[in-house]
Structure formats: structure tokens, C-alpha cells
């Protein structure tokens, strides 16, 4: 089955990411976000960057983590394509992120994501499948 799909939103872009575990759904959501910024087929896993975030609940944890990834992309110019997420309860996330530095000769950046929003945010478990719906501000 598809790992993620796009959803309609007038001004922005949203995705639904699927995973067999909560962690996997988080990983797919992050992958989808970077795929919207830059097609990932040309991105290699050359560098590892670790990110840890805390938040008051699972939803905030997701939004905070994805926003942190955008910040790292903006400042360090790192494009990530693979993620290893560990959740400690619903309040702490530890991630190892793999990717490489943006290279204008090799990568095409196609879209700017300004921020990850709480708009229509959903993290659900249905029939043992985790689903994350998240909308990005473009």
C-alpha cells in the first residue's frame, strides 16, 4: 500500500501518512514532507543528524519535530530521506535522520514549506494501522 497520499487543501498541502507503528507513521510523515520539498530519489543517506524534542502531547510532538526538521533544513541545508524514530510515551521523541547537504547541481528544490500546522491534524490507529494527517503551510 501507498506510504502516503496528498490531500486537498485550498491554500496549502496536506498529507496522510501510514505506518504499522506510531513511529513508522511519524517517519513516513517526515519523508513525505521532504519529498514535497525536494524529490528524494536523488538524495543519498550520507549524513546523520539527531534530533530530540519534547512536547505536551503526541500531536504537538509531531508538529514540533517536523518544524524542527524544517529549521534544520533552512539553517544547515540538510535534506533528509530516512528517519529512525523512537517515542518515549507521548511526550518525547528521539530521532536519527539520514540525508545529505543540498547540492544545487544534483537536487531540485520544488516547493517551500513555511511551517507544519495543527490544522486538521489527526493521529489515529485504525485496524492496527497508524494514520497521520497533517497540513503544511506553503
Amino acid at each position: 500500500m501507498k506510504k502516503y497520499e496528498l490531500i486537498d487543501h485550498t491554500a496549502d498541502i496536506g498529507i496522510i501518512a501510514y505506518g504499522n507503528t506510531k513511529e513508522e507513521a511519524f517517519e513516513v510523515a517526515a519523508e513525505a514532507m521532504f519529498d514535497l520539498i525536494c524529490p528524494l530519489d536523488k538524495v543519498e543517506e550520507k549524513e546523520r543528524f539527531d534530533i530530540e524534542v519534547d512536547a505536551e502531547d503526541l500531536e504537538s510532538l509531531l508538529v514540533t519535530w517536523l518544524n524542527e526538521l524544517l529549521y534544520v533544513f533552512d539553517v544547515k541545508k540538510l535534506i533528509f530521506k530516512k528517519f529512525n524514530v523512537t517515542l518515549i510515551g507521548n511526550n518525547q521523541l528521539i530521532s536519527h535522520c539520514f540525508g545529505e547537504k543540498f547540492d544545487p547541481k544534483k537536487h531540485e528544490i520544488i516547493r517551500e514549506i513555511k511551517a507544519v500546522t495543527y490544522n486538521l491534524l489527526k493521529i489515529e490507529n485504525k485496524d492496527n494501522q497508524w494514520m497521520i494527517q497533517v497540513v503544511f503551510d506553503i
Partner: protein, 486 residues
């Protein structure tokens, strides 16, 4: 996703609809949407009217929760939303400003006519594209950090002019003279500053653009003349904001406010409406940080203006002064401001949120520069890249019914994902536009598809409503000749 909205709507007149206060128990005031029947049909196709109702729940909201005719679905507030809150007992909400703090537009005039520019248009486009960093994560050559960045955050366009970007008289033609005084760089996170270091003096992507336009129609010859606008004239429009710095400030303070709401016992129907009392430490901190981001955006547009002038000087081998490249005006359309408004017959200082809405002060308003005192504040309304843009002027009725505000653009009507799935190709759009005499140069093909004309309402319809309802008046219409996008 884009479910049709089936809430309660009452037609007030040909250009106004009301969501009555009794539609939802949490509403403290009614909602009012400025729109005609045709636009309204489109507006109810998504949940943006519900967002107008949600905003009406915010503590201290005055009179009504407003939406301009370019309303579309945002997060928290709709895009096109305007709300005035009490300074004491009212809230400030980052969701009422948006992630791109002080996203705005400016219009630069020239003495050149279409005939002068057409033979050199390619050269101009290439030079502008080279000179002004555009696109995602675009970085300029210069890096402004530390104390100097703090100065940008404190002084905005005034910093830029002091550094030699543009002219002193430009400042008179910028909303707030390019600087909000409440800015405190200590309230801006290290992360936000890091993002700003790289991005000062860059256009960015998405709906941001730089356009060379031609004045195609004049509605008010006398006012146009006073503004220095004439038929077939070449003007330049710049649309950008505070870039990553502003996004980070918004995000930082949405978190701060989500936590603060519990402390202040505020409940809102949508998490994206996170807010805090304006006079609380959290509210004041956000207002200071937002002011910093707004100042960053004004410095950004001021620097871009300087480079635009340099490019024209190079291509036409003539000074920008003698080319008449004066700034007509610069407006912010994502911002919260302290302004004086008439509340039940008493002039009160209130917190006006404009998210995808433009200030439109009338003639005689004390905040206007001397040379515009008798005509009113210019309002710049960008359309989509294939159609047209407008120059309007603020009218007294805006002070009576819209907290001195009007629309900000065309407003999206089609989703990005739909356009991407539609099979519409960037190369086809480029060719079609070229056939109509519009050159497009974009850093990314996706932005051409996602920003296609089809994505937007017709700006003519939007402007008709604000003109007919009397909150601003059409002065001139401009058509694009060249579009530079991120």
C-alpha cells in the same frame, strides 16, 4: 477535506453576508463576510466560513469577525480575516497574523512606458533573476547576524536605508514608515534569528513574486496623477515577507500560547487559534517578536527595491532617480497592529489582526504621509500571474465597517494537490503566458503549476466587492509583462 460549508448565513445586502451570533454558542460577535453572490458560491465550498465563526469566539473581540472577499481556508483564522480586539481584556493570536509575518506588497513606479521596456524585457528579467535571490531556502550573498541582525529587527526598513538600500523618502511611503516601534530582538528565539541570517534580501517561493507590470487601465485619473501613475506606464511589484525568521517566530509563539491558554483559562474551538491576553507577558512577548519579524520583512522588501533600481539603472544606463523609480507604497497584509478605531462612538486603541487583509486608511488619516493626506492610503492588490493586479485607495467607510481594512489579493480557490494532479504542465503554462505577452521565470517548475491562474479567484471580482461596498476605491489596474517567482 474540502467539504461544503452548510452553516447559517444571512444576506445583508449585495456585498455582505452575516453569520449570526447564535450560529454557535461560543460566538461573542457575529461574523461578516464581504462578498457578492458569485464569490459566495465559491466561499462555501470549503470550511473558511466556519473559521470566521471560530474567530468570533476569541475573548475581547469587538463588533464582528470579518472576512474579505478573497477569503479562503487558512489555519485558525481564515486567510482574508480581520478582527479587532480590546487592548485590555482582549487577546492577541499568532493564528490571526499567520506564519509569514508581514507578508506584503510594494509598488515601484517608473517614468518608462511599455514601448521603452519591451525591447529590453528579457534582459531585465534575466538581470533581476540573477540579482535577487529567489526560491526555496534562497540565500543572498550577504549574511547579517548578531548585533546587526538585532538592528534590522528593531529598525526595519530604516536600517536598510541607513545601509544604503534605497532612498530616505521611501520610508514615508511604507506602512508604519517601515518600522514597528514595539520590536524587542530579545523576544525572538535564537533559531528564528539563525533562519533570518541567511534570508535577508531574498524573495522566497510559493506565491511570492516580483513582477514588471504595465498600467492597463486608470479608473481615477486625478488620484492616479497625484500618485504619479499614467496609462501604459511600467511599474514593478514586489510580494514577499519575513521568510524563515517570521515562520519560526509564529511557530515559537503558537507553542507559547498553547500553554498560556490553560494558565489564563481561555478555550478556543480550534488549536490554531492559540492566543493570550494582549496585556499578558506572553501576549506582549509575541507582539514584540512579531514586530521584529515585521521589521525584518520591511527591510527585506527595501533591499529588493534597491536591487530592482540597480538592475534598471544597468539596463537603461540611467539613474534610478531620473527613471522616476519612486516607491508608490508598501503595505503589510499579515500583521497585528495597535490602531485607533471608533468603538460605539468612542475612539479606542485596539489590536487589529489582519491575516490576508490590507490596511486601507482614508484621506485625512493622521498616519498618512503628507503627500497622500488628501487622497488616502494606496492599497496594492496583487492578482495571479496570468491576469492583473490593482492599485486602490482607502475610503472613510473602511473606518466605519472594516477596521480600516480591505482585501489583499485574489484568494485561492483550487488546491495545490488538485493542480498537481490535473496534468497541467509548467512548460504549457509558460508557453501560453508567453503567447499573451507574459514572460515567466521561476526557480521551480512546481511553483509555476501551483500558482497557475486557475488556482485563483479572478481578482477583478474580489476588487469589485471592496470597491462597491465602499471600503476602498479602484485607481488603476496593471497587467503583468514579466513574472519572477521562487
Amino acid at each position: 477535506m474540502g467539504n461544503e460549508w452548510k452553516g447559517k448565513l444571512v444576506k445583508i445586502d449585495d456585498y455582505r453576508y452575516m453569520i449570526p451570533k447564535d450560529y454557535k454558542p461560543f460566538m461573542r460577535v457575529p461574523g461578516i463576510i464581504f462578498a457578492d453572490e458569485k464569490l459566495m458560491e465559491d466561499i462555501v465550498k470549503d470550511q473558511s466560513p466556519e473559521q470566521v465563526a471560530n474567530v468570533a469566539s476569541l475573548p475581547g473581540i469587538l463588533k464582528y469577525s470579518l472576512a474579505m472577499p478573497d477569503i479562503h481556508w487558512g489555519y485558525g483564522f481564515p486567510i482574508g480575516g480581520v478582527a479587532g480586539m480590546k487592548k485590555k481584556g482582549g487577546v492577541i493570536s499568532p493564528g490571526g497574523v499567520g506564519y509569514d509575518i508581514n507578508c506584503g506588497v510594494r509598488l515601484i513606479r517608473t517614468n518608462l512606458s511599455k514601448e521603452d521596456v519591451l525591447p529590453k524585457i528579457r534582459e531585465l528579467v534575466d538581470e533581476l533573476f540573477d540579482k535577487i535571490p529567489a526560491g526555496v531556502g534562497s540565500e543572498g550573498d550577504l549574511r547579517v547576524k548578531g548585533k546587526e541582525l538585532d538592528e534590522v529587527l528593531e529598525k526595519g526598513a530604516q536600517w536598510a536605508v541607513k545601509q544604503g538600500y534605497g532612498w530616505k523618502e521611501d520610508l514615508e511611503h511604507i506602512e508604519e514608515r517601515g518600522r514597528l516601534p514595539y520590536a524587542d530582538p530579545d523576544k525572538v528565539s535564537k533559531k528564528a534569528k539563525e533562519r533570518g541570517e541567511y534570508q535577508l534580501g531574498t524573495l522566497g517561493s510559493g506565491n511570492h513574486f516580483l513582477e514588471i507590470q504595465v498600467v492597463s487601465k486608470i479608473f481615477e485619473p486625478e488620484i492616479a496623477d497625484k500618485l504619479g501613475i499614467f496609462p501604459d506606464q511600467i511599474v514593478i511589484m514586489v510580494h514577499t515577507g519575513s521568510r524563515g525568521l517570521g515562520h519560526q517566530v509564529a511557530e515559537d509563539y503558537i507553542r507559547v500560547m498553547s500553554n498560556a491558554m490553560r494558565k489564563y483559562g481561555i478555550e478556543v474551538p480550534d488549536k490554531q487559534l492559540a492566543c493570550a491576553p494582549f496585556d499578558s507577558p506572553e501576549g506582549q512577548d509575541y507582539f514584540s517578536a512579531m514586530s521584529c519579524a515585521a521589521n525584518f520583512a520591511w527591510a527585506n522588501r527595501q533591499m529588493i527595491t534597491h536591487w530592482v533600481r540597480e538592475v534598471f539603472e544597468k539596463v537603461f544606463r540611467e539613474g534610478a532617480e531620473s527613471l522616476g523609480m519612486r516607491l508608490i507604497y508598501d503595505v503589510a497584509h499579515n500583521i497585528a497592529k495597535l490602531e485607533e478605531h471608533d468603538i460605539d462612538g468612542k475612539i479606542e486603541e485596539i489590536v487589529v489582526h489582519r491575516k490576508g487583509a490590507t490596511r486601507a486608511f482614508p484621506a485625512g488619516h493622521p498616519d498618512l504621509p503628507e503627500d497622500y493626506k488628501d487622497i488616502g492610503q494606496p492599497v496594492i492588490i496583487p492578482g495571479d500571474m496570468g491576469r492583473s493586479s490593482f492599485l486602490l485607495i482607502g475610503l472613510p467607510k473602511a473606518m466605519e465597517i472594516s477596521f480600516g481594512s480591505t482585501c489583499h489579493g485574489a484568494g485561492r480557490t483550487q488546491s495545490r494537490s488538485k493542480l498537481l494532479k490535473s496534468g497541467l504542465r509548467a512548460s504549457d503554462i509558460e508557453r501560453e503566458l508567453l503567447e499573451r505577452g507574459i514572460i515567466v521565470k521561476a526557480a521551480s517548475k512546481a511553483s509555476i503549476v501551483e500558482e497557475a491562474s486557475e488556482a485563483y479567484k479572478n481578482v477583478v471580482d474580489v476588487v469589485n466587492v471592496v470597491h462597491n461596498v465602499g471600503i476602498s476605491k479602484r485607481v488603476a489596474q496593471m497587467k503583468p509583462l514579466a513574472v519572477i517567482k521562487g
